[in-house]
């Protein structure tokens, strides 16, 4: 029995298509996977309004900051508050507000978690959902790779630390957790494994759950990540979605203006994030 008979063929096509793409871009945008779907939908609007070709890549908030500072990207996508050092070198525009949602598979009957339970799950103290009154099912933890703003927010909230970072006295996220990159990856993994738990952008989680992905967002410390709770910062893990840049060239300014326009904010809302006009 063969698993993928035409796998090599498809792989060749993927690589060929990739290298056949245009090589010169007027605007290069990279960074947070949380912001990426918004920008992805803004690009066609941008070109419709006369904007030039845009290259888009993920890589996480860290990559967005790094690429913008290096000049390889004109705009960086950053899904967290800017650090003081970054604020001195980069300008930023908040295009939306988001929260970190704790998600589990739809088959999991659990509806809420406390911060301490979340910590016990991610340190490996709780290994089976039955310990929390759920089914007799092993807990599958999904965490994010270092460099993503999502894990920084998660670490900040829980006081845990990724085992991939330089070791400190902070308790570590268990090593058997799956380390993933994008929000979509986390959502797909949690949606596919009934025992999984992950943390992702609430906007992406909502949008994908509504589209049919079998995941659900849990209430954290008794607060549901609703628009109101995010707006009022009652939900414990809230973050801004930024577009950062070094220089507001006409192209960059035009793109930022589009993101803050009614059309751009409609995209933000469509993807489940909180538009900045609502703040």
């Amino acid at each position: 029995m063969r698993i993928t008979n035409s796998f090599a063929f498809h792989l060749t096509r993927v690589v060929a298509l990739t290298f056949a793409a245009p090589l010169v871009w007027a605007l290069d945008i990279s960074g947070a996977s949380t912001v990426q779907p918004v920008v992805e939908r803004l690009i066609p609007l941008f070109t419709q309004h006369g904007g030039e070709a845009v290259q888009l890549a993920g890589g996480g908030s860290g990559a967005g900051v790094k690429n913008t500072l290096a000049g390889t990207s004109q705009i960086g996508m950053v899904s967290r508050e800017l650090k003081a050092s970054e604020q001195t070198e980069l300008k930023n525009t908040v295009i939306a507000m988001d929260a970190l949602a704790i998600i589990v598979n739809q088959d999991n009957p659990l509806t809420q978690l406390t911060k301490s339970q979340l910590i016990e799950l991610y340190t490996g103290k709780i290994t089976n959902w039955s310990a929390l009154g759920g089914p007799d099912l092993a807990v599958v933890r999904v965490t994010k790779e270092v460099g993503r703003s999502t894990i920084e927010l998660f670490e900040h909230f829980t006081g845990l630390q990724s085992p991939d970072r330089e070791q400190t006295d902070k308790p570590l996220i268990t090593k058997d957790a799956y380390v993933i990159g994008s929000n979509l990856e986390s959502l797909t993994l949690v949606g596919g494994l009934p025992g999984a738990i992950g943390y992702v952008s609430v906007g992406t989680a909502r949008a994908m759950a509504e589209a049919g992905l079998p995941v659900k967002v849990l209430t954290l410390d008794g607060v549901e990540p609703s628009d109101a709770a995010i707006r009022e910062r009652r939900y414990p893990i809230v973050r801004p979605l930024n577009l950062v840049y070094r220089e507001a060239t006409p192209t960059v300014a035009a793109f930022l203006a589009l993101a803050l326009s009614g059309e751009g904010q409609a995209v933000v809302k469509l993807l489940g994030f909180l538009p900045v006009g609502d703040r």
């Binding site: 029995m1 063969r2 698993i3 993928t4 796998f7 498809h10 792989l11 096509r13 993927v14 690589v15 298509l17 990739t18 996977s33 990426q36 779907p37 290259q55 888009l56 890549a57 993920g58 890589g59 598979n105 088959d107 599958v140 799956y178 993933i180 990159g181 994008s182 979509l184 990856e185 959502l187 797909t188 993994l189 949606g191 596919g192 494994l193 009934p194 994908m208 589209a211 049919g212 992905l213 079998p214 995941v215």
Partner: protein
């Protein structure tokens, strides 16, 4: 152990029924086990199919760059995870490899969606090894499941043969038990009844147990004893009567029902005969001695009544003749 005839007849069949049920339960358990193995085989095939489907959908997702593909990938993985969970606590060792493979495939999809194509191409290459591992694992487990199913099928056939032999043996045993417990005692009761019907009351009826046949034999025994006592009494009374002794009486205290009525009538008959003959003897003795004062009193039926009437009439004629003779002698 004392058992009624009903229990003697039902018990062997009940035992046979219980045995057959027990054997059928074992066969049912065999079948369930076989079905379970067949279900595992189907699940393994479906898991293999799901693994291929995940790979195909990831490739499609990479090509089409549609996020919706992630939903389909998750649905397929969820189905596969459920199938693996059905195989046992560890899904026959497939759980972790499948999860790792799924996570790796999802990562590749996401990497391509983030336009990290070089990294994606590298990861795709690494996934081939994982695919081969899962594939080989599934093939091995399917072969093991097929062998187990074949073994269970052979065992089931053998067991069915054993069941058939055991059931036949049990039927034979049940027949013997019914024969010994029911048919043979009935035959004994029939022979006793036939002997009594033929007038042989000398046989000994052995009575043991407390079933219906024993009760029948006991009744036959009582009947035989009552008949024997009655017939001995009748024989004795008739023998003495033929020798002119009408003083013998049957003991009615030992008799019941029709036998008692018969004994009472015989006693009554010998009593009447004795009383009648005694009166006739008394009157004729007196006549022989010239005593004409005696007569037969009482109320005798039938031939005894006619005898009474004849003797009394004869005695009156003698008395009147004697008076005439006395009157003529006085006149002369």
């Amino acid at each position: 152990m004392h058992m009624t005839l009903t229990k003697k007849m039902i018990a062997p069949y009940a035992l046979l029924g219980i045995l057959v049920l027990a054997l059928l339960s074992v066969l049912f358990a065999f079948d369930l086990k076989r079905q379970g193995v067949a279900a595992d085989e189907r699940a393994l095939l479906e898991i293999g199919s799901a693994v291929r489907e995940i790979a195909a959908r990831v490739q499609t997702g990479i090509l089409t760059r549609e996020e919706a593909m992630a939903i389909e990938i998750a649905q397929v993985a969820r189905r596969a995870d459920g199938l693996i969970a059905r195989l046992g606590p560890d899904g026959e060792g497939l759980h972790t490899p499948f999860q790792d493979y799924f996570a790796a495939m999802v990562a590749v999809n996401s990497v391509y969606l983030e336009n990290r194509t070089e990294e994606g191409a590298q990861r795709l290459g690494q996934l081939r090894e994982q695919e081969r591992g899962i594939d080989a694992s599934i093939v091995t487990r399917i072969a093991a499941a097929e062998a187990e199913r074949a073994r269970l099928t052979t065992l089931a056939w053998l067991f069915q043969g054993v069941v058939l032999i055991v059931v036949l043996a049990m039927l034979g045993l049940v027949s013997v038990l019914v024969l010994r417990g029911v048919i043979q005692p009935i035959g004994r009761a029939v022979r006793v009844a036939e002997a009594i019907a033929a007038g042989d009351l000398s046989g000994t009826i052995a009575v043991t147990g407390n079933d219906e046949i024993t009760q029948l034999l006991r009744a036959l025994q009582i009947m035989q004893e009552a008949l024997r006592i009655l017939l001995v009494g009748i024989k004795n009374i008739v023998g003495k009567a033929t020798r002119g002794d009408f003083d013998e009486r049957l003991d009615i205290a030992q008799q019941q029902g029709v036998a008692r009525e018969l004994a009472e009538l015989i006693n009554q008959m010998t009593g009447i005969t004795r009383a009648g003959l005694h009166d006739v003897m008394r009157v004729t003795d007196a006549l022989a001695k010239g005593d004409l004062s005696q007569r037969i009193d009482g109320d005798y039926p039938g031939i005894f009544g006619q005898t009474q009437l004849g003797v009394n009439t004869h005695k009156r004629q003698h008395s009147r003749q004697a008076l005439e003779n006395q009157w003529r002698g006085a006149m002369c």
